[in-house]
Subunit: 413 residues, 2 copies
């Protein structure tokens, strides 16, 4: 069978041919409820429920859904997504949806139906709070990033894994263009609040800023430290009061650890910076800043713990070879490595904030602010912080230093 | 035919079956002169001359020749060597021997016979001077490293090239162990001058030093910036008065540009630091320091020139995408990038110096000093500099800063 895009009518008949899925749903396909809910930018997503249970079936389209057939995008991204889902499940099984079935020809991935989960970004826009959020996100970051890195994985195996993802070039290219390049020149698909024209103009001739963004791009292009999710914003996280799942790893590749960390932190900081526009009464509520701090400190502590817990006599990654012999060296190496990850994360966070306000793909945090002036005010504050994170990275030695500046900007509102 | 190690008797009969080689040599195989000259640590090397010309035939053994069958090493290194020779020849055809024939099953690579070339290291030990040396080495570095990097190569092609070399893990592993790890603990095959026991002991508990070496190892493991030679010391360079060729790229892989640069500089600095022991009358002769300066400034200038010369409308590497639109950004990006390469090179040079004195594979520059005390004095000075390069990298903002310290140490002799 060749590739055919499914629709709400054809998907049940297709899934009925897969015994494990048919059994999961139960009953006859005619009785299954099907809803297409792909509100993302790229794919079809069908939620299918039957008498016995539910599944989510995600199918790639051969183009960018948000734009249309004029922007082709290879179906192979479905292959990399199911590969990454499986790899992530090895290290963080509780933090990803279980992979039930995949069909590489149909570019189709069938997973557990996450219910009653909702998208974290939408929930944050509405002011929802989740007590386990930071803990769960730190766990996902530390477990997937540490255990796919040169610290944990023997070098021959690590290089084979790098190779397995090297073909996901089309998705990396989206990031290269949209995150590091286009926000800094008048790319055709950029858009921004009209009130920001002055800062847009200033950014385009801001050599230190553009140089810093290109420096982060160089890290992104040539820093295969660990298997990254590659698109870890709050729209890739599904939550309930007691669960957190990370979805949509179709941008997965081996890259710098700080990229996943920094992108996630940036989205939490943006959620905080949007509060004055969304809900003025909550403008100073520190919960979102606390989550960002909790994600970083939780990640750092857990990453260090994984390192210390590596058995000294086992074959681990090349970077553990010496440190395992000498606890003093190991302690110093942990601090040094976390410092390097933090510095990368700060720079990547700066890029992410700027591109979400000036580039193609914006975020609901700001877009949902009805008052145009209030929205632009929030965005301007975020842009100032984004620039500072990129250009003055040394001013932010730790996550608390970022919180202090973000809080100051929000209070100035 | 399956793999069989050749010998001085069988190699002519084998090469006679390859028409292009038989024609190059001329006459009948019985008349060919064959000499096995593999004085390196790994392979068989046959120099074959006939009435019409000569070739060099290099065959990998399934083990490390220096050690014996107890240290197996895959024949695939011959495959990566001929792959790299071909890639280097695209960008720096005058600086590598022409590849005439390869046989992946026999792990055999047949190249132009370089004559009357000799090994640079041996020539430097004897005090020979070559007026074009720095220019030629800078050309090899800039041309092979720039034109295989993210500056020149579109990203899809670049990732395919990274993948093509990712399997050369066994050779990378030698570097990981011998350069970054073993010199800093009591590895079984380490050896050193008896008079250095105090500094050996100090290094093993020197956390800042070992941390810096591990930091360089992390760069080596996850920094695929360009196609590296991977073993660019003065024993991998063949010279005459007017020619310079770089041989033996069997350690080739995509890694950090500063690795090739720093390893070569370190070997020139070591040659200088060995002068007081080799030829006390030449102890202060600055020629070798001048060569190191010439290699760096020549490399940096040529690398920058290649960048500025990229056609603005062509498809180049991802790192050129924005800079080509804005000469101001490009100028800043060139300075930033060369600064980053320099900082890497300084750290890698520090590792290379230390491992050549305390690790398994020593260099003739020091080994050829007959007086044990004089040798240890030279080595001790080199070790101090190696440590400073690794730990105090910020003290060496440019190549002249290294020259100044190296000169001071040599004068102190």
């Amino acid at each position: 069978m060749s590739y055919t895009p499914l629709n709400e009518r054809s998907v049940a008949a297709f899934l009925a041919t897969v015994p494990v899925i048919a059994a999961r749903l139960g009953g006859s396909p005619e009785a299954w409820d099907v809803r297409e809910v792909g509100d993302g930018n790229l794919n079809l997503v069908f939620l299918v429920t039957g008498p016995a249970g539910g599944v989510a079936a995600k199918q790639a389209l051969p183009y960018v859904r948000l734009i249309g057939e004029s922007w082709p995008l290879p179906l192979s991204r479905a292959y990399y997504e199911r590969l990454a889902l499986a790899d992530e499940a090895v290290h963080a099984p509780d933090r990803v949806p279980a992979l039930l079935h995949h069909d590489d020809v149909m570019a189709l991935t069938v997973m557990d139906l996450l219910t009653p989960h909702r998208t974290l970004r939408g929930a944050l826009v509405e002011g929802e709070r989740y007590p386990l959020l930071a803990t769960h996100l730190a766990q996902f970051l530390a477990d997937t990033l540490f255990f796919t890195s040169d610290l944990a994985v023997p070098v021959v195996e690590k290089k084979a894994r790098i190779a397995a993802y090297l073909g996901n070039t089309a998705m990396c290219r989206i990031t290269e263009d949209l995150v590091f390049d286009e926000p800094f020149f008048d790319a055709p698909m950029n858009h921004h609040s009209p009130a920001l024209t002055d800062i847009v103009k200033a950014f385009r001739t801001d050599i230190p800023l553009r140089l810093a963004a290109q420096g982060m791009k160089a890290r992104f292009l040539a820093g295969p430290e660990a298997l990254l999710h590659g698109d870890l914003h709050t729209g890739s996280v599904m939550v309930t009061a007691d669960d957190t799942k990370v979805i949509d790893p179709e941008f997965a590749f081996y890259g710098p650890i700080g990229f996943d960390v920094g992108m996630l932190l940036a989205n939490l900081w943006m959620a905080y910076l949007a509060q004055p526009g969304q809900r003025p009464a909550d403008a100073a509520d520190p919960w979102l800043l606390d989550q960002a701090e909790g994600v970083w400190t939780g990640f750092a502590g857990r990453f260090a713990g994984h390192w210390r817990a590596l058995a000294p006599d086992a074959e681990h990654g090349a970077l553990h070879a010496l440190a395992k012999l000498d606890p003093g060296l190991r302690t110093a190496a942990i601090a040094e490595r976390l410092g390097a990850i933090w510095r990368d994360a700060v720079g990547f966070a700066g890029c992410e904030i700027i591109r979400r306000i000036l580039g193609l793909a914006h975020v609901a945090d700001f877009e949902s602010i009805a008052d145009e002036g209030a929205r632009a005010d929030c965005e301007r504050r975020a842009l100032r912080i984004g620039r500072a994170l990129l250009v003055n990275r040394a001013d932010f030695p730790d996550v608390e230093a970022v919180s202090a500046v973000v809080r100051l900007e929000a209070v100035a509102a």
